[in-house]
């Protein structure tokens, strides 16, 4: 394994498994163990093992207090995002200049911002934006990254070289800089932000999927699938990818946290939502001038971003530990 195959620089998820070799080992632990004799006429048997694996994972996750609390918090966030409009005491986009920059009080528990809008209502409304952007951006990155990574890892050779070199090019520009460069081309707006954030995180998914594929495709049952005469696409999607699924899920969970962070960063720079729509990073960017005059305008949106990111990070960490057989033994 050459050093340029090492995983995404400075990445949260890779701490403790800093080489692609370690990733492969991790993936290996989740793949079908040697000695298992799969029956290829019946696809269902292949799914039996992963299911057992989910059960094992859940058991391990349940023992992890931090991850469990995070999961509960994420469910809570999702509920807020879904029922947001029913929960906001005020219209989150209604300005009320006479009532601007009021500190937290009984009427406005998080206070009001520079335009007199209720910060509590805006934080709630922003939950939907952040979670949606996070989820959509990760979905874009995942679907493209999985296909690229699977094709590169499965076929190898020049296809692998071309795909991975393009990924290297994308990785040689810091992701936030690449994202705002994309925004320059696409134009401002939250829909553009989703695309930009999604596109820049493709390489990390492609790499992790490729790493898993490389280890899984050496298994006997894949060779057997070839012998039986299954098509490449079928082997990749039915037999190889399901075994890499757990690794992908961990990465996607951590990916949501970085997508939420990136969304907030783009919003902070004024490239995200268009006013008056509420978005956490945008709220911070616009209230920045009132830092000494009305600090409450900056506390609550920032706290919302941090807690959301923290929850996805803790859950992702918990899932990774739950999947790692080495950690499970301890």
């Amino acid at each position: 394994m050459a050093p340029w195959d090492r995983d995404v620089p400075g990445d949260f998820a890779e701490i403790g498994s800093e080489t692609a070799a370690a990733d492969e080992a991790l993936a290996m632990g989740t793949a079908l163990p040697d000695g298992e004799i799969p029956v290829f006429e019946d696809d269902e048997t292949l799914h039996e093992k992963p299911e057992k694996q989910w059960l094992e994972m859940w058991r391990s996750l349940r023992a992890n207090k931090a991850a469990l609390v995070s999961l509960v918090f994420i469910v809570f966030l999702v509920l807020i995002a879904v029922f947001g409009p029913l929960l906001t005491p005020y219209n989150p986009v209604e300005t009320h200049m006479a009532n601007a920059l009021k500190p937290p009080s009984a009427e406005h528990i998080f206070g009001t911002d520079q335009l007199g809008m209720d910060i509590f209502s805006r934080v709630i409304a922003g939950t939907r934006v952040s979670l949606t952007v996070g989820l959509l951006a990760v979905s874009i990155a995942l679907s493209i990254g999985i296909v690229l990574g699977a094709v590169a890892g499965y076929f190898g050779g020049w296809i692998d070289t071309v795909i991975m070199r393009v990924m290297d090019m994308m990785l040689s520009v810091p992701s936030i800089l690449l994202a705002i460069t994309l925004m320059a081309a696409l134009g401002k707006g939250i829909d553009k932000a989703v695309i930009a954030i999604g596109l820049v995180s493709i390489p990390e998914y492609a790499r992790i999927v490729r790493g898993s594929i490389l280890s899984i495709k050496e298994n006997d049952y894949i060779a057997a699938a070839h012998v039986v005469g299954l098509t490449d696409a079928r082997i990749i999607f039915r037999h190889v990818l399901p075994n890499a699924l757990s690794v992908i899920i961990v990465r996607a969970t951590l990916g949501i946290s970085s997508a939420v962070l990136d969304t907030a960063a783009l919003g902070f720079l004024g490239l995200g939502v268009q006013p008056p729509q509420a978005e956490w990073g945008d709220m911070l960017g616009r209230a920045r001038g009132f830092i000494f005059q009305a600090p409450h305008t900056l506390i609550f949106p920032g706290l919302a971003i941090t807690l959301t990111v923290l929850a996805f990070n803790l859950l992702g960490d918990g899932l990774r530990d739950a999947l790692d057989p080495r950690a499970r033994i301890k």
Binding site: F12, V173, L177, T181, A184, A185, G187, F268, T306
Partner: protein
């Protein structure tokens, strides 16, 4: 014989690794060029204003070479870039290289200060957490690392300003130096320029302005380095040679400081190198919070007003630095860890 083989292998690896940089850089230049000139909206009406006439826009496009075929535009851009000519800003008409040069030292000063902070505290916290595994120190270290990766750096900067500038009145909330104390421009790095001038007051001013943004920017990297150091130290401490060293009666401080730490630093070195590259991305946000006059703030401003030659120049420069730092980190890693050489041999 074996010695010479490994030297030859090493050289082969270095050459191979250096040559790999070229296609990556060409690829990056194509991607950025395409983004700016093919997919971006026409800059003419933005630069000239909404009331510009069709003729004046045509003339402007011609003057900026935007009327030529796109491939020709790219090759003349590439030819210029190789000679250090990155074009001129649409607005100021100043060469992009000069515009970047005027702001770049500020960003480098900030990034270097941040990586120094991140490295020192990251290694310190990581080692303490590993040595005192499963104690309150370990929990504290892990907690700080977790916060470091979860708090958005721009919000962290805002909190710092609230506390250190607002509540304590201890540190300035923005800028690089007290304007009246600005030293004569020699290197562009104010702390160094102040030292050259022998100006103590300027040095102090530059330093107090640097502290907050450097801490805010370095926090994420510190967290990553802490986690890496901890896991790497734990692995080293579990090795046989550590048990042997302890059995020989070597003092615990020496076992940790000399034997375990030295071996743990191999992967940490790479992470530090990679973090330096990503700090340049983070600087975009930190500079915006602290009104730091570096390329980060300049990039955002240029994007907002479609000054594409500037954006192109900055992205290319950052990519060159990023790739170079990664290259150096990889080579250091390969030098320190002999297993990499075997891998490259087996592959090649």
């Amino acid at each position: 014989m074996r010695e010479r083989d490994s030297v030859a292998d090493m050289l082969k690896y270095v050459v191979k690794r250096v040559l790999m940089v070229i296609p990556v850089m060409i690829g990056v230049s194509i991607i950025v060029f395409a983004l700016m000139r093919v997919f971006s909206p026409d800059p003419a009406p933005i630069v000239l204003g909404q009331h510009a006439t069709q003729e004046s826009m045509e003339a402007w496009r011609e003057a900026n070479g935007l009327d030529e075929p796109i491939a020709q535009q790219y090759f003349s851009y590439l030819a210029g870039a190789l000679k250090g000519d990155l074009g001129v800003s649409y607005y100021t008409k100043t060469p992009v290289a000069k515009e970047i040069g005027a702001r770049f030292p500020a960003t480098i000063e900030l990034a270097v200060a941040a990586i120094i902070f991140a490295t020192i505290f990251g290694i310190l916290l990581g080692v303490i957490a590993a040595v005192k595994k499963n104690t309150i120190f370990d929990a504290l270290g892990s907690f700080i690392a977790l916060i470091g990766v979860s708090v958005p750096i721009f919000w962290l900067g805002i909190l710092f300003i609230m506390f250190f500038s607002g509540v304590l009145h201890l540190l300035p909330s923005g800028g690089r130096i007290d304007v009246l104390l600005k030293p004569a421009d020699v290197t562009g790095f104010y702390m160094i320029d102040a030292l050259i001038e022998g100006n103590g007051a300027a040095f102090r001013s530059a330093l107090v302005h640097l502290i907050q943004p450097a801490l805010a920017l370095g926090m994420y990297s510190m967290a990553i380095i802490t986690r890496m150091t901890r896991s790497s130290m734990l692995e080293s401490l579990g090795q046989d040679y550590i048990r042997t060293a302890r059995a020989k009666g070597i003092s615990e401080a020496k076992v940790i400081g000399k034997h375990a730490l030295r071996n743990s630093m191999i992967p940490v070195t790479t992470v530090i190198g990679l973090q330096f590259g990503s700090l340049l991305g983070g600087a975009l946000l930190t500079e915006s919070v602290f009104s730091w006059p570096g390329i980060g703030k300049f990039t955002v401003d240029s994007i907002l007003k479609s000054d594409f030659p500037v954006v192109q120049g900055i992205v290319l420069l950052v990519a060159v630095i990023f790739v170079t730092v990664n290259l150096v980190a990889d080579l250091v890693y390969a030098y320190l860890d002999p297993r990499i050489k075997y891998a490259s041999k087996r592959e090649g």
